[in-house]
C-alpha cells in the first residue's frame, strides 16, 4: 500500500525471520503489497513462476547489498539509494530472462521493469535490510520472495486451469470443459485476488471465533490445576 511497512516485531530468530513471510505475514495475501505485478502476470502458471523468481532474485540481491552498505548509506537519500540498487539488479534479471526464456519475457512485457515499483522490494529494504545484519536480511528477503511466489502461484494456478483448461501448458481439464475466458482477462485477476482475500479473512475470523470460547478455558484449567495444589495445605491444616 505504501512504503511504510508496519513491523509487528523485529525478530532475531533466524527461523522466524525466514518463515514469517511465507504465510503469516505473506506480502500479498496479508499485507496487500506488490499487487500490480501479482495480478498482471498470473494468467499462466509459467509467467507467475517467472515473475516470482525474478522478484525473489531482485529482493535477495538488493537486500544483501543494502544490508552490507547500511552504515555507509546517508539517511536523507536512502530511498533513492535503494531504488538505484534495486534498479541495477532488475536490469540484470531483465536481461537474464530475455536470454533464457524469451517467450515468457515477451508475455510479461513491461511488468518486469515494473518490479521496481513493487512495494515489497523497497519495503523490505526500508523495514528490514537497512537495520539488520547481512545473514538475517538474506533470510528475510528469501522468505518474503518465496511468500510472494506462493501467492502468485495461488492465483496463477486456478486462473490458468479455469481460464484455458491447462496447467503449465499441459491440458488437465476434460475436452468437454468450456474455458472460462474471463479468468484470463483483467477482471478475472481482480476477482481472484478478491476471493483469496475473502478466504484469508474467513480463515482469520474462524481462528478468532475459535480463540474466543477457548479463552476462558485456560483460566478454568488454571483453577483446577491450582485446586489440588491447595489441598495438601488444607490437609495440613
Amino acid at each position: 500500500m505504501s512504503l511504510i511497512v508496519k513491523e509487528k516485531s523485529s525478530p532475531t530468530d533466524p527461523r522466524v525471520v525466514l518463515t514469517r513471510g511465507l504465510w503469516h505475514e505473506n506480502p500479498v495475501l496479508v499485507q496487500t503489497l506488490g499487487l500490480c505485478s501479482a495480478l498482471a502476470v498470473t494468467n499462466a502458471v509459467a509467467n507467475s513462476l517467472a515473475m516470482g523468481l525474478a522478484t525473489t532474485f531482485v529482493l535477495v540481491a538488493s537486500s544483501l547489498m543494502v544490508s552490507t552498505m547500511r552504515r555507509i548509506i546517508p539517511h536523507q537519500i536512502r530511498i533513492t539509494t535503494y531504488i538505484l540498487i534495486v534498479a541495477t539488479f532488475l536490469a540484470i534479471a531483465d536481461m537474464v530472462l530475455e536470454a533464457v526464456v524469451p517467450n515468457v519475457h515477451a508475455a510479461m512485457g513491461p511488468y518486469i521493469a515494473l518490479i521496481i515499483t513493487n512495494c515489497i522490494v523497497l519495503g523490505r529494504q526500508e523495514a528490514f535490510a537497512s537495520r539488520q545484519p547481512v545473514g538475517l536480511s538474506f533470510l528475510d528477503a528469501l522468505g518474503n520472495g518465496t511468500g510472494f511466489t506462493i501467492a502468485l502461484l495461488l492465483m496463477g494456478i486456478p486462473r490458468e486451469v479455469l481460464g484455458s483448461g491447462t496447467f503449465l501448458g499441459v491440458r488437465v481439464m476434460p475436452e468437454a470443459f468450456e474455458p472460462w475466458v474471463l479468468m484470463l482477462l483483467p477482471p478475472g485477476g481482480f476477482l481472484m485476488i478478491g476471493l483469496l482475500l475473502l478466504l484469508a479473512n474467513w480463515h482469520d475470523l474462524r481462528k478468532l471465533a475459535r480463540a474466543r470460547p477457548a479463552a476462558p478455558a485456560p483460566a478454568t484449567a488454571a483453577r483446577t490445576a491450582s485446586a489440588p495444589a491447595r489441598e495438601p495445605e488444607e490437609a495440613l491444616v
Partner: protein
Amino acid sequence: MTDLFWIFVSAAVVTNFVLVYFLGLCPVIGVTSRSATGLRLGLATTFVMVLAGLAAWVMNAVVLSRAPFLRIIAFVVAIASIVQIVELFLKKTSPSLYRELGIFLPLIASNSQVLGLTIFQTNRGYTLVQGLLFALGGGFGITAVLALVGGIRERLEFASIPAVARGPALVFIIVAALSLVFMGFAGMGSAS
C-alpha cells in the same frame, strides 16, 4: 488526427491503466475512500505523468537510444526528481494546493502508473504529441477510476457488509466488476 484521438481514448478507457494494465493499485485500495480525494490524487498523477512523459521522450531522443539497458534506471531517477521538483515548486507558489496534495505527492514517485507510462511510450515508439496525448488519456482514465471507486466506497459506508468481506477484499471485487464494465470498450480503436 483521428490517430491522435484514438490514442487518447484507448489510453483512457479501452486499455485503462488501472482496470486493464493493473497499474497503481495501491492508491486505489489505500486512498479512495472518498470520491473527492480520489479526484485530486488522479489530477496530481496526471500532472506528473505528462511531465514524466515529456522527460522520457527527451531522454529517449537524446541519450537512451544509445544505451537502452539504462532505461529503467534513468526513468526511475527522472520520475523521482520530477516529483521532488513539483513538490518544491508547489510549496513555493501555491502552499494551499501543496497542503492538499501533501501526502499524495511523494506517493506518486513510487507509483507504477508513471513508470508504466514511460515504458509503454518507449516500447510503442510514440512521437512527442502522441506521447503527450497518451499521458493525458491515461491520466484521465486513472482519475475517472479513482473517483468512481471512491464514490462506490462512499455509498458502501451505509451498507451492512458481512465481516468476512470488509477491507481490501470487497474493494477488489468492486474493481473486478468495474473492470468487467470497461471490458465493454475492448476492440474500440484497435488501430493502436
